[in-house]
Amino acid sequence: MTTNKQKGWKEIPKGGLILEAGNSEKYETGSWRSLRPVRDENKCTNCLICWVYCPDSSIIVKDGKIKKIDYDHCKGCGICAAECPVNAITMVDESEFRNEKTEKGGKK
């Protein structure tokens, strides 16, 4: 996906170089996802096993509890749903959310 907020060829470092360390957070990979992990807060025990396993650091935890899933970076791999010991996470087809806006809005 390309969007208007992405930079033009005159504005980016040459040669594809990344001149700033640790900037991958700025690269949003959420649009790669075809299945979305949806957490059932009633079932979730906040054991944080999903937080341990998530390869994209997309389980956002605050004060020892899951605050949210970062859909701007979650690629929908489903590891969280597979590892959850109480089946609190369901993978839902993204088409179900087609008319819904993400937190930052407008991407879906």
Binding site: T2, W9, K14, G15, G16, L17, L19
Partner: protein, 394 residues
């Protein structure tokens, strides 16, 4: 004759240029007809005459990979190859250009296999014409030496920062002995200057990444940058040539015109065949024939406006291609020039002569025959055969 004039092969002349440039790293694998260059340079390394780290690699793929690593790390880096060696390093050749690494590489033109052949044609470097490298073609050993030195300054210019290939003809130039005028070591050292790294990888104060994944959302923008940078190298090539003339007395441009201004017909040809063609031009001029020659030096970036303009007054022109582009409408030089001529209203009649593949000789009679054919085309206005093969048996 100056005190620095020596009789030497093209390979030894290029090796001497590299010795005087004294790069930080040279990673190279020997391949005919480039072998003598690498062998001679490794002698300089063994004798302690250069400070270069010479990396003996197991293949050309590794040679160019080592060059990319060393150049990214922040060193002045060179290599050399030919034909199948260039083909084997092809993946990394593209990566060197797209990573903006100013590596300089003599390519001793040789036919690509198969069938296997070790003699000259331009199929190797022409296959790399879209790789993003600059390409300079040399007529003789002197030009191979001069272009190698100039290539360093062109590649390393901060407005360019792209790798450069310096071509000369396999065996004809690489192994033939000619008179070459060398510059003094100090003159070359001052001309190329100290290496200025740009975004060196080995800087702990400024960590950065070379070669990250670059998908549909940014790859195109990086290609657009490359297109601009290679286009912008043209004035730099001319500036470097002007400076080089000051230290050497030898003028260079984007191409060389020989008796072209008042010519009615002309040949366009690269490298050593241009030398033979000059002889033919002299002989035919002595008989009153208005013939001329245009020898491109810079093939990438292709100076399409300048070449088209220089040819626009002709009645007929033959473009000689020492490589074929199978299935295309002519060889690479022909397609570039015929397309470039669209820039001007008046397009001379034009033919493509594919010649010399796999080292097939082209002699003065062959070239005179081309001029005679052009004369007939100019008089009749008719081209019987647009794309022709010269010197192949029917």
């Amino acid at each position: 004759m100056s005190k620095n004039t020596v009789a030497i092969t093209g390979n030894d002349a290029a090796a001497y240029a590299i010795k005087q440039i004294n790069p930080d790293v040279m990673a190279a694998y020997p391949i005919t007809p480039q072998t003598a260059l690498v062998q001679k340079f490794s002698e300089y390394v063994a004798d302690g005459l250069v400070k270069t780290e010479f990396v003996t690699v197991e293949s050309e793929h590794s040679a160019m990979s080592a060059c990319v690593g060393a150049a990214a790390a922040g060193g002045r880096v060179m290599t050399a190859t030919a034909a199948n060696g260039l083909a084997l390093m092809f993946e990394i050749v593209y990566i060197a250009a797209s990573s903006k690494l100013p590596i300089v590489m003599p390519v001793v033109n040789r036919a690509l296999s198969g069938p296997i052949n070790i003699h000259c044609d331009h199929s190797d470097s022409m296959a790399a014409r879209d790789s993003g490298w600059l390409q300079l073609y040399s007529e003789n050993a002197q030009e191979a030496y001069d272009n190698t030195i100039q290539a360093i300054r062109i590649a390393e210019n901060m407005k360019v920062r792209l790798p450069v290939m310096v071509m000369y003809d396999g065996f004809i130039t690489s192994h033939g002995i000619e008179m070459v005028d060398f510059l003094d070591d100090e003159v070359v050292h001052n001309f190329v200057g100290d290496y200025q790294p740009n975004n060196p990888l080995l800087d702990p104060e400024k960590p950065l990444t070379y070669g990250p994944l670059d998908l549909y959302d940014y790859y195109f923008e990086h290609k657009r940058q490359q297109a601009e940078d290679i286009k912008n190298s043209k004035p730099i090539i001319l500036d470097v040539a002007k400076e080089f003339e000051k230290i050497s007395g030898r003028p260079y441009g984007l191409f060389e015109s020989y008796q072209l201004e008042d010519a009615e017909t002309a040949i366009v040809v690269l490298s050593s065949t241009a030398g033979t063609t000059k002889e033919v031009v002299d002989e035919m001029r002595a008989k009153g024939k208005k013939v001329g020659l245009l020898k491109p030096r810079v093939f990438r970036p292709f100076p399409y406006q300048e070449i088209a303009k220089a040819l626009s007054h002709l009645k007929a022109v033959a473009i000689l291609d020492r490589s074929d582009s199978f299935g295309a409408f002519g060889g690479p030089l022909f397609t570039e020039i015929r397309s470039a001529m669209m820039e001007f209203g008046k397009i001379p009649e034009n033919i493509d002569i594919i010649y010399g593949l796999g080292g097939r000789d082209i002699n003065e009679q062959d070239i005179e025959g081309v001029y005679n054919q052009l004369d007939a085309i100019a008089k009749s206005g008719k081209v019987k055969e647009r794309i022709q093969y010269l010197g192949v048996r029917e």
